[in-house]
Symmetry: C2
Subunit: 294 residues, 2 copies
C-alpha cells in the first residue's frame, strides 16, 4: 500500500460525497452556497474524513454507508477556518493559496457561510437521504461525538483561548489547553467516529482514542514548526505570524518540539499495534503527519 495513492484516492471519494451533499442545498441562496463551496472545495487535505474512513476500515468494515457522516467533519473544519480567518479573529487574507472567504464574499456572508456549514453538518448527520444504513443509536452517538469535539469544551474552547492569549506571556498549561482543544479534539473525534462506525469495542475505542489524541497533538505541533520553518507557497497561508501566539515552539523551543513530535508519532503507532496489518494505513498516516510539509 502506497499512502500517497491512498490519500489521493480517498480525497476524491470525500470530494465526490461532499458534492453529493451540496446538491441537497436546493433552496439555499446562491451566494451562500457559493461561499460554502468556495471553501469546501479549496485544496485541503480532507484529512479528517480520511482518518474516519481509515479507522472504520481498520476494523474491517467498509466506510461506504458512513461517507456522508464522515464528510461532515470536513464541513465543520471548513466552518472553523472561515470564522478563524475573519478580521476580528485571526485576520487572514490567504488560505490554501486563495483569498479567504470574507475577502471573496464579504464579512457578513462569510460569517453566515460558516454558520451554514456547521448547521448543515448536523442536518446531514440525521438526514434519511444520507444515513439510510446508519442505525438511530449510532447516529446519536456520532452527533454527540462531533458536537462535543467541536463545541465549547473542544474546538471552540481552544479557539477562544488561542485568541485571548495572543500577545500574552501565557504558560505551558495554557498552551496544552489550546493544543488539546483547538485542533486535536476534532482529529480525535474523526478517529473515534470511524472506530464507532466500525463497531469497535469499548477497549478498542480507548486505543483508537489514544491514537487520535497523539496525532491530534502531533498535527498542531507540526503546524507550529511549519509556521517557523515552512515554505509559504507549500503551506498555502501566511507564515511566521504566530510569534505572538501560544505555540509549542515558543514554550519549548524548536528542537524539543521536533522531539515531542517524534514521540507522539511513536505513541500513535503503538496505540494501534493491536490492529496488526489492518492498522497499516493509520500507522502510515501518523508518520505522514510527523513529516508533512503543508
Amino acid at each position: 500500500m502506497d499512502l500517497a495513492t491512498y490519500l489521493h484516492d480517498k480525497k476524491i471519494v470525500v470530494e465526490n460525497t461532499l458534492k453529493d451533499i451540496c446538491t441537497s442545498f436546493t433552496t439555499t441562496p446562491g451566494i451562500l452556497r457559493n461561499a460554502m463551496e468556495y471553501m469546501l472545495f479549496s485544496n485541503g487535505k480532507k484529512i479528517r474524513p480520511i482518518l474516519a474512513i481509515a479507522a472504520c476500515e481498520a476494523k474491517g468494515r467498509s466506510a461506504d454507508d458512513f461517507l456522508p457522516c464522515f464528510c461532515t467533519l470536513e464541513m465543520i473544519h471548513t466552518y472553523s477556518l472561515i470564522h478563524d480567518d475573519l478580521p476580528s479573529v485571526d485576520n487572514d487574507d490567504l488560505r490554501r493559496g486563495r483569498p479567504t472567504c470574507h475577502k471573496a464574499f464579504g464579512e457578513a456572508v462569510a460569517i453566515m457561510a460558516g454558520d451554514g456549514l456547521l448547521t448543515e453538518a448536523f442536518r446531514v448527520l440525521t438526514d434519511s437521504r444520507f444515513t439510510e444504513r446508519v442505525s438511530p443509536k449510532v447516529s446519536r452517538q456520532i452527533v454527540f461525538e462531533i458536537a462535543h469535539a467541536a463545541g465549547t469544551e473542544g474546538m471552540v474552547g481552544g479557539q477562544v483561548m488561542d485568541i485571548i492569549y495572543e500577545n500574552k506571556e501565557g504558560s505551558k498549561n495554557i498552551l496544552h489547553y489550546i493544543h488539546s482543544h483547538k485542533t486535536a479534539a476534532m482529529l480525535r473525534a474523526s478517529v473515534r467516529i470511524g472506530a464507532i462506525a466500525g463497531s469497535a469495542k469499548t477497549r478498542e475505542l480507548k486505543s483508537f482514542t489514544r491514537y487520535g489524541d497523539a496525532i491530534g497533538l502531533a498535527f498542531q505541533i507540526m503546524d507550529d514548526i511549519l509556521d517557523v520553518e515552512g515554505d509559504e507557497e507549500m503551506v498555502g497561508k501566511k507564515l511566521k505570524k504566530d510569534a505572538n501566539k501560544q505555540t509549542y515552539v515558543k514554550h519549548y523551543g524548536i528542537l524539543a518540539s521536533k522531539y515531542k513530535l517524534e514521540q507522539l508519532v511513536d505513541e500513535a503507532v503503538k496505540s494501534i499495534a493491536f490492529l496488526g496489518e489492518n492498522g497499516r494505513v493509520l500507522e502510515e498516516i501518523a508518520r505522514f503527519i510527523g513529516n508533512r510539509i503543508s
Copy 2:
C-alpha cells in the same frame, strides 16, 4: 387558564433547564461561558421552547422528558441574535435593553459564543445526560428538524437574503422568502418538535405545521409593524431602522400588514381546532403573537 401566568411559569421552567444545561459546560473557558450566558439569560420571552412545550402538552403528554431538547431552540435563537447583531451584519449596539454581546465581550468572543451555542445545542440534543428518556429515533428526528430549520434552507438562508437585499428595491417574492425563512422556519420547527415529542400522527403533524407557519409569519410581520409603531423601551432594541430592509410594511403598507396579521392568527387558530380544549394554550399564544408589544 391565564396566558400571562402560563408564559411566566414556563419561562421559569425554561430558564431553570437552561441553567442546568450551562452547568454541563465544565471545561469551557470562563469568558466564553460568560458571553453565552449573558445573552441566554437576557430578558427574552423564551417563546420557542414554550411553543414546543405547549404543542407537546396539547397532545396530552408531559414535556418533562423533553425540556433540555426544547431549550436547544433558545440556544440556537440566541446564537442567531449574537451573529445578527455583529458590526458586519446588522451592527446593533442594543438588544433586550442591554449592550449586544460583541459590545460587552468583543467581536471575536461574540462570534465564538454564537458558534458555541449552536454547537452545544446539538451536543445537548444527543447527550445521554439530557436525553435519558428520548428514544434514539426521536432524537434523530428532532436533530434533523432543528438543523434543517436553522440551516441554509431555513434561518441562515433567510438571514443572508435579508442582508443582501438591504438598501435594494427587492420584491414581494424576496420578502416572502426572507419572511418564511428568517424567523418562521424556527418557530415552525418549535411547534413541530413539540408535536413530534407528543407522538403526533402524520396528519396531525401537518396541522401543527400549518399553525407553526402561520404564527411564524405573523411574528415576523408584527416585528415589521413594531419597527414602525413600537415603543423603543418596551421592545428593547433600536427601532425605525428597517426602512432599508425588505419588510411587510414596505411592500404592502401598514394597514394591509395589520390585516394580514389578523388573517394569519385566524388561520393558526383554525389549524389546531382539531385539538379542542387541549389546544387552548396554542390558540392563546397565536392571539398573543398578534397583539404583542415587545
